[in-house]
Amino acid sequence: MRLAAGILLLILAALTTRGALADQLVTDLSEHQISIRSNFTGTEILIFGAVEAEDPTNLSTERDIVVVVTGPEGPVTVRRKDRVAGIWINYDAVRFERVPSFYSVSSTRPLTRIVSMDTRTIEGLGLRHIGLGVATGLSPTGAETALQEDELKIFSQALLRNKQNQNLYRAEPSGVAFLGRSLFRATVDIPSNVPNGLYTAKVYLVSDGQISDAASAPLFVVKSGMERAIHAFAHEQPLLYGIFAVVFATFVGWAATLIFRD
């Protein structure tokens, strides 16, 4: 019994040492806060790092890097149009509770060639594996309905398609480049229509198809500029904003009568 326990301890120790010696990541972002003018045409962040190989002399290990940047989550309603009495109107809908506002996955090679389907599902790697939260079917009157499996698939695919068209979801299968054997860098495009908030940049190191290390870093996106100030004013002080809009229009109308007095 004692012997057995001793062997177990030895095996455990060997495993943990092996873990400590496994390939490791050292990463950083070019900036942890991006302050972007609202009328900007988009910007990009640079994510870079190095792989500290367990055994630098072993050149046979295949290493890949996957970089995932996700934006703040929130509920999204996906509406489907249908023809009613000859015209196309929003008919039924599905509400997803926790949809990332932004999702970008970059990798050294296409994900399907790097990691297994199971790993992609568990880690949420790739556009088709983004967690969207609880889904609720909605009838045209807004009442909750039972949601069929195939319907759920149609609506979640529609969500992905729309998000991709808005450039908010993207996959870059060759977006990460190795510079030599251990250094890597990835640039992630941040389009102009992203929301403010706390983003997460997560870097995965994959050695021979297994995730051997992961590191994540927070990224704050803050919009600035006049347009952002107007937006914040309209949403945080709606009454004052409305009164301001009226006073402003009154002033412009009055000014116009002075200019064109003749």
Partner: protein
Amino acid sequence: MFQIYLPIAEMPVNIFLILGMGGVVGFLSGMFGVGGGFLMTPLLIFTGIPPAVAVATQANQTIASSISGVVAHWRRSAVDFKMGGVLMIGGVIGAVAGVYLFAYVRALGQVDLMISLSYVLFLGVIGSLMLNESVRALIAVRQGRSPASANRSHHSWIHGLPLKMRFRRSKLYISAIPPIAIGIFVGVLVAIMGVSGGFVMVPAMIYLLRMPTNVVIGTSLFQIIFVTALVTVLHAVENQAVDILLAFLLLLGGVVGAQFGARAGQKLAGEQLRALLGLIVLLVGLRLGFDLVVQPDELFSLTSAVTP
């Protein structure tokens, strides 16, 4: 390069496109002496501005154009303030009801449909009426007859209503109920369509209330300032849909366009002008209707609760 980001519509637009649209609609409104909101809102929708933002912003813009319009009428004392006040009571009721209806329908995801349908209906009816009337007049002129004057029948039932008031400036002694009812109807139109409602208000004042034509425009403009102001504040509070940057750009173009339009309008005959305007109104209405009937490329749309 000339892109500007609209803070509430949340989309980049070409600054010259918006200025140009303001200018063209301003030109037409100066030429025809109409508000132009019923053309501007569909144009904004065609450029991809969310319909709710187009409507609320148009209401905001109408304040400015009504103020610059009312000053001239006020100098000629062509404003019946008492009648304007009574119309305004109805306008306030209609505006509040309209904005809350708007917010309710928006929560159901059907506000774009409501806006499009009301525009198709109104532009269709008004465009047909204008075109019909002006073409008849043109034919009459060509055949050498003088255009038949509008048949002003007496609406005796209006004179039987209670709550009679004296409107000195309009030389009327009538019940307050019809002006309040007209005010309510126009208030709802302002709230859900963003238009000044002059195309309903002015004929109703002339043919239903039988007000003298010289005070009609001034009084209509006077009361619409307050109704559009209220609608702007309510839309800002309930729907956060008023884009002041967009309103400002449209006004800038509109003020300049209206000056040229007014000059151009003096060179054209009245019937031809109205036939032309009727045609434009009909075409815009048809285009909106076409968009409702044709199957869209993308059947799915996203509504996010997170405000970017």
